[in-house]
């Protein structure tokens, strides 16, 4: 197993984004609504943070229309997974665990 190098990431760091990355790191993809329910924020707040993660190339956003309803799915990109893993290592280093 390759050791992850600790690296503080300002994009991942902000608590709602850290939570979003933490959830998406454990799955392949997750519905926007499911992420919103788990994180406990409004649609608009989550949209804002997802857009920042998307602009950083960390999250892939896909929209699919089924039965005239738009379903938005979020997934961490490989760059997002690497950034999250490095940030968690940095948190561990700072916390001394």
């Amino acid at each position: 197993m390759t050791a992850v190098r600790p690296r503080f990431d300002p994009v991942v760091h902000t608590p709602p984004r850290l939570q979003v990355c933490g959830l998406l790191a454990a799955v392949d993809s997750m519905d926007f609504a499911a992420v919103r329910d788990e994180v406990g924020v409004s649609d608009s707040v989550l949209s804002k943070h997802v857009r920042q993660l998307e602009e950083a190339g960390y999250v892939d956003v896909r929209k699919a229309t089924r039965a005239s309803r738009v379903r938005t799915t979020l997934a961490l990109t490989s760059a997002g997974r690497a950034a999250f893993a490095a940030h968690v290592e940095e948190l561990r280093r700072i916390a001394g665990v």
Partner: protein
């Protein structure tokens, strides 16, 4: 950032994963239905000379698999690949070995000894097996999520 803030953020991430563990568990009927789909797909090989019936059986199996994936996504709001890295790979290794052994044995029985029901029996064994392997896979995944980062 001070050590206590970092520790608090790590603890929050662990809590989120533990909560996610409850969401990823499929409904009780998911694994038996997956077993049924595997049975149809494997047993269909015994119909390979039956023309359209073979393709109809394959279509039922593939359609069933698609419906199961769609149902899981709709119910849980997420998707996680069975081949994901982590301890669940053990379960996949057991599945691959069992599949190779059972299908090879059934194909030899069918082709070399003319046992025409061999693939149906193989489908039943693998369908039954995947029902339990599916539950095992979920247990391993849930334990991994609950253990934290």
């Amino acid at each position: 950032m001070d050590p206590s803030t970092a520790a608090a953020q790590l603890a929050a991430l662990r809590t989120d994963r533990a909560q996610l563990a409850a969401r990823v568990v499929p409904p009780w009927w998911y694994d038996p239905c997956l077993g049924l789909v595997v049975f149809v797909l494997v047993a269909a090989i015994s119909l390979r000379y039956a023309g359209w019936v073979y393709f109809a059986a394959l279509a039922v199996g593939v359609g069933g698999l698609w419906a199961l994936v769609a149902a899981y996504k709709r119910i849980t709001g997420l998707w996680v690949s069975g081949l994901r890295p982590g301890r669940t790979r053990r379960v996949i290794r057991v599945w691959v070995i069992a599949y190779a052994l059972v299908v090879t044995t059934a194909l030899v029985a069918d082709q070399e000894f003319g046992v025409r029901w061999a693939m149906v029996a193989a489908g039943a064994v693998l369908g039954f097996g995947v029902t339990f392997l599916g539950r095992w896979w979920t247990r391993v995944y849930v334990a991994e999520l609950r253990e934290g980062l």
